[in-house]
Symmetry: C2
Subunit: 517 residues, 2 copies
């Protein structure tokens, strides 16, 4: 039998250069980064919101191979300041009104730090029971705040054994892909794999483009991706009648309706599809209905928005991005399903190397079977910290304050007759543009009316963004280019909205004056 | 025109309760978490390595809905200590030898903190140029360290326009799925979509089980997922002759060979598939070859392991998990491809809302088109911090020190004739078991020989893990159950290996004595 040979000298000899997780060095350097980031937030308004660098800027200033020898953190942080920060588009800036927000928060950051610090790989229950159990608990908390029907929640007993429940994934794209695959497999078990090519996925022309990609990845024929047009009269929401017609037409042609994605808060205009009639159609034809509430789902913790969820009990799955408008740093997509077995049947793996008693007794959830990847981070911590650090009341107030700021911005636009609202505001995003009448009267028209108006508004956006004072993006719906002003960055206050409006007006003035000369 | 109405009182009124990103509060709380985690690392050896809680433990002690009012960080951290830490399996413990390591480091943590702090959503170049550019730079750095052929690297000019290059994804599962979809689409463009059902994906019986899941998600018929058996004589590496036979057989049956995953460092035994002959076969038959080096890829920065990459120039894609054995916290999978256009053709989306000049001029990379999801974190920061903080020389030394500790452990086993090595060690993982001869001679046999030996070794693993002193997991290959001892946790030193060996011996002694009574 071998003698025990504990040899601290050998350790010293090997590790005299670096111990990559030395607690005191971790402490020293950790404090430095906290200060660095606190200073960053303090100074964030000094930076151009949208980065003004040119393509390839970084390659010119960074060496083309990794250093052989260690460099000091102090030096690295200098480089972050000098080389990286100018290349960052500052999503945390109070003057960021582009896309949808990526609403960071101290609590979300702290939760992520804990998760990164523990650095567990929570693929199954035993690999870190707390990671799985806290996730099931907070996703139930969230479901209750939204007033989601019980059929989407864990029941509290026999959690591992099917029924409703939720999971934290990275992004909505993943949630879409997982639910399409679950629906696909469920349907092919009924109709046979030879009918794969007949499966049809439905969307509106306002559904997020990721659905198309998810369907494509899952092998759905691109000819069977059905995009149903919406209209201005319906405020760009999916019309149930049009859906029914499309389905009936597909059935007539021998296709098999599989999946519909309904949206609460579309990307272009934050439109809301009417869940109740859509879900009833879904039920009638045996279609899996996924509700994508990536952006606006968070607002549904406020009672005044919960009417949008009316009818959701007939949907099959529901998701929202807590990293958009719920103060949880990227990434954190909450997905609830009514039939978790449909999901796990599609995504389960049971390799020998992960066998353990708890899983075999079916007493626990192994979240690897609820998502694409095996490895998974302890995301529940950040959601837990956000919910506890702020509390439901404050979270509702924060969301409401963003909505109120958007209302306020809408009011500012209404007072300036040169501008018009493109679609009625629903949440905290305002869609507007300079009115065609102003442009046509003041600007010489080289192109057709509509094209000229669009080009002028695009020029305005470009001019504003180049100033670095704020960042906003655009949408084009039904041929009309409009400006999206999305409020939700955690540092944005009324004064930023007011200043932003002044900047928009100034740039509009300059452009209009220029054009009328 | 609306008058400018800057109204700080309104701000104060709304935000008197909470500003979720107040810099001073961020600073105060950030320091608290750094100290909390530094203390955690300091005390990590006090906790049972594998969590000893029972299923459902957390539900019993956590309220079943979110609090209405804010709670103090101090209270939350008390709960983390009391409720969460006992439910954590401590992957960062120096006594963690299970699965493969999840090697955290201070530099990886700091990089992640910066990424979380900036909280940018880097889907395309303009959304944060530094996120894209730093990613292209560090993945080239890493490729050079591995001595990957130039065809896998960005050339430095015309980066957005195809050719080789790399991307940071979350996990190997994602990398597998993306490359299968790229290969699938490329093939279907040639042979027509109606032949989808003929596509065959090849693996060995030692390939990671995620490949099967990825192929399934991509719509490959499960009957066309070809698992080629390996043998002990080949040290469980995939035999090129067997691959060729399988391919020829499929072609004879009218199938279309599509994709092979070769592995450098399999999960069960860290076997290495012979790249050169496998890739030559791949080339001959037009098969996409992906090389999964999730675990052992990191070791290939050491010259002594680079021979395993011989022949990789004929592969199509190559991936490794920097979060496994490269001191970057979860998640961080590096994927290199030779033909990035094959990838982006399969995964591109070009929605109006993301249109911008840089993308349209094709001057930049939009990494959303290199992965499943739209949203993406600024993962390059952590890899950059790891590479700069430690330097290539130290990183090689750290990997080598793990390999040397594994050699040392192997030596300890060799001195105890009751144990045997199951397969020759290649990297820093040792596969061993108690010898059949000892078990058969000392233990009354109720079952067949092999089953008895397996059960006894399984009992040993269970007994060791229940002690909480260390955590290790098992494998079963060719019907033989063996113990996997994977070294790579960042805090593990020689003394931990020595103590672990003593614990293993003690538990073996107890079980053998018990059984022989």
């Amino acid at each position: 039998m071998g003698s025990l040979n504990i040899n601290p000298e050998l350790d010293d000899q090997i590790f005299n250069t670096i111990n990559p997780l030395d607690p005191e060095e971790f402490r020293r350097q950790g404090h430095k980064i906290v200060n660095f980031l606190a200073d960053y937030y303090q100074n964030i308004e000094q930076y151009p919101v949208c980065s003004q660098v040119k393509p390839g800027y970084l390659q010119k200033i960074i060496p083309n191979s990794a250093p052989n020898n260690p460099e000091l953190l102090e030096k690295i942080l200098q480089d972050v300041k000098r080389d990286i920060i100018p290349g960052i588009t500052h999503w945390q800036s109070p003057n960021f009104f582009a896309y949808f927000p990526s609403s960071g928060s101290t609590a979300g950051f702290l939760g992520e730090m804990l998760s990164v610090g523990f650095n567990v790989v929570g693929f199954n229950w035993i690999s870190s029971p707390a990671a799985t159990e806290l996730e099931s608990i907070v996703i139930n908390w969230f479901g209750k705040m939204l007033n989601l029907p019980n059929c989407f929640l864990f029941s509290g007993d026999g959690d591992g054994c099917g029924g409703g429940g939720g999971v934290l994934q990275g992004t909505t794209c993943e949630a879409m892909l997982c639910t399409i695959v679950a629906a696909r497999d469920q349907m092919l078990r009924k109709i046979g794999r030879e009918n794969f090519g007949k499966l049809v996925v439905y969307a509106s022309d306002q559904t997020h483009f990721s659905l198309n990609k998810a369907a494509h990845i899952a092998g759905i024929d691109s000819e069977n991706f059905r995009v149903i047009p919406t209209t201005k009269a319906d405020e760009y929401a999916l019309c149930p009648k049009s859906l029914r017609l499309a389905i009936l037409n597909d059935i007539k042609e021998g296709k098999v309706p599989l999946f519909l994605c309904a949206t609460i808060g579309t990307t272009s205009t934050t439109s809301v599809d009417p869940l109740r009639p859509l879900c009833e159609i879904g039920k009638e034809f045996g279609i899996w209905i996924h509700v994508d509430a990536a952006y606006a789902g968070s607002a549904c913790i406020c009672p005044e928005f919960q009417l949008f969820l009316d009818g959701v009990e007939n949907a099959n799955s529901f998701s929202l991005n807590a990293h958009k408008w719920f103060f949880s740093t990227l990434d954190c997509c909450c997905l609830w399903v009514k039939d978790s077995i449909a999901l796990t049947k599609a995504l389960s793996t049971n390799p020998e190397c992960l066998r353990n008693k708890a899983s075999e007794l079916n007493q626990v959830i192994d979240y690897k079977d609820w998502q694409i990847s095996l490895s998974r981070r302890f995301r529940a911590l950040k959601l837990w910290l956000v919910l506890r650090s702020y509390g439901v009341t404050n979270l509702r107030n924060l969301i409401t304050s963003h909505v109120n700021m958007a209302k306020h911005f809408e009011g500012l636009i209404a007072m300036d007759t040169r501008f018009e609202i493109f679609v009625p505001r629903k949440f905290a995003m305002v869609c507007f543009r300079i009115s065609p009448s102003i442009i046509i009267s003041q600007v010489s028209t080289k192109f057709g009316h509509e094209e000229e108006v669009n080009k002028f508004n695009a020029k305005l956006v470009e001019s504003i963004n180049s100033s670095g004072k704020l960042y906003l993006t655009h949408g084009v719906v039904g041929g009309t280019y409009f400006i999206r002003f999305a409020i939700g960055a955690s540092l944005t206050h009324y004064r930023h909205v007011d200043i932003a409006w002044k900047v928009i007006q100034d740039h509009a003035n300059a452009l209009l004056n220029q054009s009328s000369v």
